[in-house]
Amino acid sequence: MAATSEALNGRSESGFNKFFFAREIPYGMALARISLPLVLLVDIVRRWGFSREIYSTDGAIATLHANFGQPDLLPELPAPAAVGLFTLLGALLVTSALGWRTRLSLFGACGLYVYFSFMDCLSTVTKYTVIAQHVLFLLALSNCGELWSVDAWIARRRGIRLDLRAPIWPQRLVQILFGMIYFGAGITKMHTEGFFTGDQLVFWMMTYINNEHPLGDHLTRYPLIVSISCYTTFIWEIVFIFTVFQQRLRWWMLAIGTIFHIMTVFTLGLIIFPVVITASYLVFLSEEDVKKIVGWRPFRGLARYLVDAPEAAGQSAVSRPAPARGAFGSFAVFAMTMAVISFAGIECEYLLDHYKTRGPGGPLPLLEIAREDVERMLAPEQPLRQSDKLMAFDMGSVLVGEHLASHRTQYHPGERFVAQVSLNPPHEDMWLECSMCESMPGEDDEEGRLVPGRILYKTGLIMLRESFRTNFLFTIDNGIAPGEYFLKLYSANEEVARKRFTVLPGKIRAASAD
């Protein structure tokens, strides 16, 4: 019947059928079902102790929908209800990973996660929570719970042989979701001024609102590398959806994606986001892929966990006695367990007394602030210092695009070099002066460093408000003896930066600005 339908509808529907309705054992989805809820559980556990404060009317709710002008979109719950449901969310993530009442667990976890995300736009909702919610929803639509799960174990004990092969459309939709996400992220980058020059990303690397990111700190010195990475990322994001379904390119795209996301740990200090994405990438594994991977020498021991054929499930099913109906696998037992966990959560949270209002000294007193700190905060606003308008003052000899390819401080006679000024936006139209000074031999500063002396040359230019960086070009020529020199940058007659450099011995002596 299916074959006849296929023949009648022609090749295009055949392709559609093959793409969405091929029947496979959902190994990839099952792996994602096990790993993703456990990753999300980290976030849930960290927030559980604060659930009264951030999700209930006994705290400071900051709803996402209020930001969208829909303050009444979802009901705000009193503390016991919010805590109980948040505990339930954690429990449902655990049962999703275990595969106990998998579909119900995943639907429940997804719904509650969406609710709590909407209730807290400050410390819960991010794009990775949204991605996770999409994936949980699509996992719930799949039959991922019939593999490596409590449900499968119960079915085997009851002697029920599950049909593990099912249409792969939920898995395909997760894959398409990732393609769309990356495409959207690429659009964002197109819209973001200063992204492709790397400046936006450099500022992100200097932002400390996530975790430590040592590689990012170093990369701020090399905006050219960051700029090249930006172009590479953009191209990869845009082409992802068109290439990830092609057999030859699929592994390359996924490998680049995995490396890209792992690198965000070291460059931007993101942790949960890349782990969520990497866990979700498991949905790109097809049945054939898993069989191939298990065939590799390091993974051969895992072969026994593959449910290769219905016979395997059947053999294991008949070898065990079927328990009485209504035991561990029944809905009533599941519902009772969830209810007990939720009520236990409410009781525990109450006993922990988050605000410490019921203890011997409760409510706790407010912490005082030192008067001088308050005076500093409430002092009249000051204009920006000239030095704070400067982002960087760098020297080098090779310009690629608008970036210095290398940072050098030693030059031979006859060489040209660039002194590059980068400013912090926003800034007004500015007049910048750059002076070249000789060093004062024998007159060091308090830290024993050389200090600039007589000005040898001075030049200046106007930097318009829309400009981010500008260059002063110099050529070492006759008149300058080998030795230590300085470049000093002035704005509004105030020195904002200086740079020391060395002129090496050579034939030509002197410097002039172009």
Binding site: T57, L173, A185, T188, N211, V318, V374, R465
Partner: protein, 232 residues
């Protein structure tokens, strides 16, 4: 007995399941496409909260200045209290700063301060202040990296700006734009010709409800009120 039981096939449900599956596939892919098209055209991306679920604007831009929010309360004795660090501890959701620092529009920060007041012991409070501290991000660099790039010593200086002043009942008595918006606005006022044109073109009558950016909002009937923590 030798053969295990198999889930019985459900007659007649196969075609219906397939129709529903195809319908869902079409709807889901259409929703994702709609989100991306809106994002591409910059149209309707904030028309509904659910748009947040299908618009993937994960890189919204980062400014050159870092900022932190300070929540302080002034008591009747003119003693100031710290509301940013409540005595029961604070949640560091994504790193090592608390949740009021993730409120770029300053929409919920006052509520956080009022909640701390509600659950602590203190003298009568006269006002709550939301203060933004800002500094250039280059000063965030570790000293080792700083010394590799900059010849000048690191000279840390913060700029403070009062964003909001609230009464203990949640009434906003003063509200200002952010440090960054203020700096951007100063660019236009730094142009004397533009400032003169704007001054001479300003309407004689104030348009009620459109508070001038950077100036105090009126107290009284026009004063807005943020949601105070309600009793449980």
């Amino acid at each position: 007995m030798g053969q295990p039981a198999v889930n019985p096939p459900r007659e007649g449900t196969g075609s219906m399941k397939r129709i529903l599956s195809v319908a869902f596939i079409v709807c889901y892919v259409s929703a994702l496409t709609y989100g991306n098209v809106c994002h591409l055209l910059r149209h309707g991306t904030v028309s509904h909260t659910m748009m947040y679920m299908i618009v993937w604007d994960m890189f919204c831009g980062w400014s050159a200045y870092d900022s932190r929010v300070h929540l302080i309360a002034e008591g009747e004795s003119e003693t100031y209290y710290d509301l940013s660090h409540p005595p029961w501890g604070e949640l560091h959701a994504f790193g090592y700063i608390s949740r009021e620092n993730y409120d770029p529009f300053n929409s919920h920060t006052g509520t956080i301060g009022l909640n701390v007041l509600k659950h602590t012991r203190h003298e009568p409070i006269t006002r709550i202040l939301v203060i933004e501290e800002s500094w250039p991000k280059k000063l965030n660099l570790p000293d080792a990296i700083w010394n590799l790039r900059y010849d000048n010593p690191k000279d840390r200086h913060s700029y403070f700006r009062v964003r909001t002043i609230l009464l203990p009942d949640g009434t906003i008595t003063k509200q200002q734009d952010s440090f960054l918006s203020c700096q951007a606005r100063k660019l236009s006022t730094a142009n004397p010709r533009l400032a003169q044109d704007a001054f001479s073109g300003r309407p004689l009558f104030l348009n009620e409800g459109n508070g001038e950016i950077g100036r105090d909002l009126p107290v009284g009937p026009g004063a807005s009120r943020i949601s105070a923590p309600s009793a449980q």
